[in-house]
Symmetry: C2
Subunit: 104 residues, 2 copies
DNA sequence: TTGACTTATCGCGAAATCTCGATATATAAT
DNA sequence: ATTATATATCGAGATTTCGCGATAAGTCAA
């Protein structure tokens, strides 16, 4: 949650791309939610496997990248069954951007 | 000048501090410009030596950090005589902050 | 020219990051 | 229980970054 950790998370081409892809999930990934029951809504989340395929890196790398971005606060995740869905943490990102604008 | 390079430059405690110190040079450094003749104005610039002392790292490290931040676009420099003065590149930083706000 | 001073560059070992394959864990299906 | 699938974690080699001291390059004063 430290500023440095956010910058570090953003200091990698692949991770930066992931963040951008997740801005428009429906544009960059197959339709999601096939495994999410009706009651639960986690809009905009994409499962790890689809992100991995898009990124073209190994499964382990993508998993740890996503975990790193979540720890930094940029992403949030939701697990349903054997799937983990990730999406952008928009309020956090907005807040961060605002902080950059005023304090950098 | 690539976005990644900016994030990398910001991914270090010392470099981030330097950028903050240079927001209010008169607050963090001795008075500057003793070696700048009247005709030239490079307001807000601080010489490498003063930045080094404040940072508490070696001269070589500080010099290369400053150079790195300049290459990224965050700083600009002006050499007069044997002194090199660095200051924030405010338009660039503002532009970067705006880009973060709209594109991150 | 010589010497003093400021900054930049070079080379290095230590630490961190990148990325992978292998394996572990968790859940689902049979 | 066993098997299959999705994700997380572990260990390792390659690359990058960190920060240093030594040295080079540029400038000024005597």
């Amino acid at each position: 949650m430290k500023t440095i950790d956010i910058f570090k998370a953003l200091s990698n081409e692949t991770r930066l791309s992931m963040l951008h892809w997740l801005k428009e999930p429906e544009k960059h990934f197959p339709a999601q939610g096939a495994h999410i029951p009706k009651g639960i809504h986690f809009v905009g989340g994409v499962c790890v496997g689809d992100i991995q395929e898009k990124a073209g890196l190994s499964q382990s790398t993508v998993s740890s990248y996503l975990n790193m971005m979540q720890k930094a606060g940029l992403l949030e995740s939701f697990r349903y069954g054997q799937w983990t869905y990730y999406r952008r943490n928009e309020p956090f990102i907005r807040e961060f951007a605002e902080q950059i604008r005023t304090e950098l």
